[in-house]
Symmetry: C3
Subunit: 389 residues, 3 copies
Amino acid sequence: MTAIDPDTRPAGVSTPVADELPPTLLRTLPGGAYTDAGFFATEQERILERRWMCAVRVADHPNAGQFATVHVGRESVLVVRGRDGGLRAFLNSCRHRGALICTEDAGAVRRNLQCQYHAWTYGLDGKLVAAPNLSSLGDIDRSAYGLIPVASREWLGYLWVCLDDDPPSFDETVIGAVVERLGDATMIDNYRVGDLALAHRETYRVAANWKLIVENFMECYHCATIHPELTEVLPEFADGLAAQYYVGHGAEFATEADGFTVDGSAGFDRLPELAPEQDRRYYAITVNPTVFINLVPDHVIVHRMFPVSVDETLVVCDWLFHPDVVAAGADVGAGVELFHRVNQQDFEACERTQPAMGSRAYRRGGVLVPAEHHITAFHDWITEMCSEG
Amino acid sequence: MTAIDPDTRPAGVSTPVADELPPTLLRTLPGGAYTDAGFFATEQERILERRWMCAVRVADHPNAGQFATVHVGRESVLVVRGRDGGLRAFLNSCRHRGALICTEDAGAVRRNLQCQYHAWTYGLDGKLVAAPNLSSLGDIDRSAYGLIPVASREWLGYLWVCLDDDPPSFDETVIGAVVERLGDATMIDNYRVGDLALAHRETYRVAANWKLIVENFMECYHCATIHPELTEVLPEFADGLAAQYYVGHGAEFATEADGFTVDGSAGFDRLPELAPEQDRRYYAITVNPTVFINLVPDHVIVHRMFPVSVDETLVVCDWLFHPDVVAAGADVGAGVELFHRVNQQDFEACERTQPAMGSRAYRRGGVLVPAEHHITAFHDWITEMCSEG
Amino acid sequence: MTAIDPDTRPAGVSTPVADELPPTLLRTLPGGAYTDAGFFATEQERILERRWMCAVRVADHPNAGQFATVHVGRESVLVVRGRDGGLRAFLNSCRHRGALICTEDAGAVRRNLQCQYHAWTYGLDGKLVAAPNLSSLGDIDRSAYGLIPVASREWLGYLWVCLDDDPPSFDETVIGAVVERLGDATMIDNYRVGDLALAHRETYRVAANWKLIVENFMECYHCATIHPELTEVLPEFADGLAAQYYVGHGAEFATEADGFTVDGSAGFDRLPELAPEQDRRYYAITVNPTVFINLVPDHVIVHRMFPVSVDETLVVCDWLFHPDVVAAGADVGAGVELFHRVNQQDFEACERTQPAMGSRAYRRGGVLVPAEHHITAFHDWITEMCSEG
């Protein structure tokens, strides 16, 4: 059992938080879950390297030979477009002496993937195709020395990867999470996310544990305090109840808001296949462990998190609009700016929370008010994933 | 038992220091006490978080709502002036989800302390006074969710804090240490330190373990080597015997020194209530674990240490003069410069000692000559504090 | 037993590399040997602090009182030229309170080595000669408090040091390694390396484990891929077989190469005592653990490595030419540039290998092709040195 035991504090240090909580309050995870490097290592093994992680946007690498490298758990994963049009994922390490095959974040090779150390050469499908003096290695089974494949699956225009040898069901753990939140598969299908175009991308380096970012995204009790622009557009958020608390619920736009924009100005035509009840509404979805999906009538915002260490997380945020909007060079600034500010406000809140996670005041954790009670499900999931078995 | 065992070195590495010492030499702590991160963690728990630590100067935060944050052991402590004029200390962490209440080193709030994440709001006395939807939390005992108080006590114009739930006697461990050194309570009272005004403050970041700085301050065997200006004013220091070695003894100024200044120039009028035998003398006092007090006729110098890691220490040094001197804008430069140089010389010596603490040459520690034998009391205190029980 | 066990990976993570290898492939060390801080600590104790390490070039410090400090394993070693002309090595730590005696990389003292903290003073032969109030220490045996000596030996114009109390045979472990490679002691003696002059020195900070640098130097399977200039001069290197694979073999210069230069231009007269069969040949020698010697007709290149941490290594490379060449101020640029480029190419390859050593793809290590099989001897030596006993 690798879970954090809040009672390992030395004798002489008292428990500042009462053992008994009133029914309106639930306990969070103990502070050590956000500060202990060993617990983070367990999360890497048991969560980040065993679940489906959203790695790269498929359309960013359209041509054969185009590749990207991303960090998933403790691994560098190489994603490359094959000559057959397929996007594949591999461990980014040569089978000979281990060197990284590709060192850039993204790029393109002409024909093959060649290790720049001893020139072992792999096809875009990962197969070993050449090596200096390979003929002298006549007895080796070339197929046994291809790049090591990583399970992958395309969905919503992204390549999702899983480092587990026996990945959990994608339909259940990814699609299921979205459908469970929205209540119906068509509710996500209608946005045709995979057909949208990238209008803007921001990358944030957040000095906070990744779980603080998830918890922040899951609740809206903080919205009135730190998100003035967002609550202007979504008045119900000022009441503190997160949209995702209710199955199928989307937060309704304010009467005076013409669009999901920083100044309430009109956005663009609603996406063509949306149902009428999806118009003028914002839906937020958390896909454990590291993906957030935000749906509004004229665009979709996708957050991918890449936990770097126990107290640092990289967040990549994509703003996706209808291809015609992007092709026309329309000004998406007012839409992008709204959630960019929300991101900055949220990440700043997480960064002022992280330093106190090691305090004796938070040794047994803090408390969740009713509007946050649903976060308990996330905490239970973390605890279960990190437990032995 | 967490103390450093010098005999854990692997087989095959011999002991360079003889086991038997002549009576004139005493052994220091082993080198590991200055380099082992685990031993430093023990010191944080058993010493820095259990003893009275000098946190802030009271007069720096005179008005209701003014606050400061300081690091004590591993905690961020929030000190705030109440509407009733009292200065109070709390753990700087919101009782809800743990965020830091204040992030600046010092500042002021208007009415209350409000967490910038979810707006839980505390009075300047630490009581929980408001929270969004707090009415829905009707069953919680608001008094149970105030900021967690930290024991505090004002003395010499500073707020001292203690993180232990059951603090040791302030009179014994702090005032007692001063009186024991000076031989008489009036000897410190005469300086009316709490009424003096701050003329200058320097902050030093020293790349050395905090105990090296204490040991350095405790002895004067090094004075002839590295403190030319100081030994000019205090000739007996050139002989290597620290003033604090003798109860009640103050080092006498050189005949040719008109004041405690870098060039021997005259200082200011002696503080009004000093006894005649306190004139033209320098007294140095160590208050374990992290405070040094220096008394001369016309000013007082107070060092507060904030250990950051096993090999880094922050030292804040205040020069306090009579309020009339400061109010008149008199030039205190020659007085400040003397001890600023002493500080620089001492900290440089500590910084050239720290890197060798990990050497096999220092595995069992070094030796104390007779002029340093009193440091053994400090070493014994460290060992006792860090031992189980 | 401190060796890395590749099977400690948590359950659920499979072994991507087949257990059985074909006879043409041999297994390398597991990845953990290049990433585990504990294994590096073992290497420091068992290898870097027990074997002869090449510390400083003798001629860099010709005069009495000149000194240098170098890091060997975890120790700072002080090398100083005595009044009798001898070069001696000591632990760089005062016997009193441990401070570093010298803090600069190199310098000179006039008469003695004096600790800048309390003025304990040592002769250039390390003997304690003075200390403040030393007379009061009458009963101490001054000879017991000299600087702690480190075993040293001059060879090839360098001072080699060994931190072990019972150093291994220099003749066997250092000279023997060279002779074993060249087949004959005269083969190295002919270069009169100790009489050559330093024409150029480069220091490289390499973000890779020191063993990757050794392995890289030992094989030439990578030469065709990353060393275009070197294979131009030494065509047989393009075939992938390292010169040092064969006893006594030197790689022959290309017919069209007039010298060992970056552009094939002529070098200088061959060193006067070379045997005819040593002309127009390049010999490479590895002296475990951290020295490489490169011999060409008109100069010698010596690499000394100083491992800093598990993933960082400092490499100092000296280019030595005949004293007449250096005295004449001849342009050695074309010769220096050739191996400087080789160094840069090699270290870049090591730096792209290091990040993947922690991958599950390399958990059991990679494979050695026949041209690399001799590296197994190095791996076996590492394993043996790090094993208990």
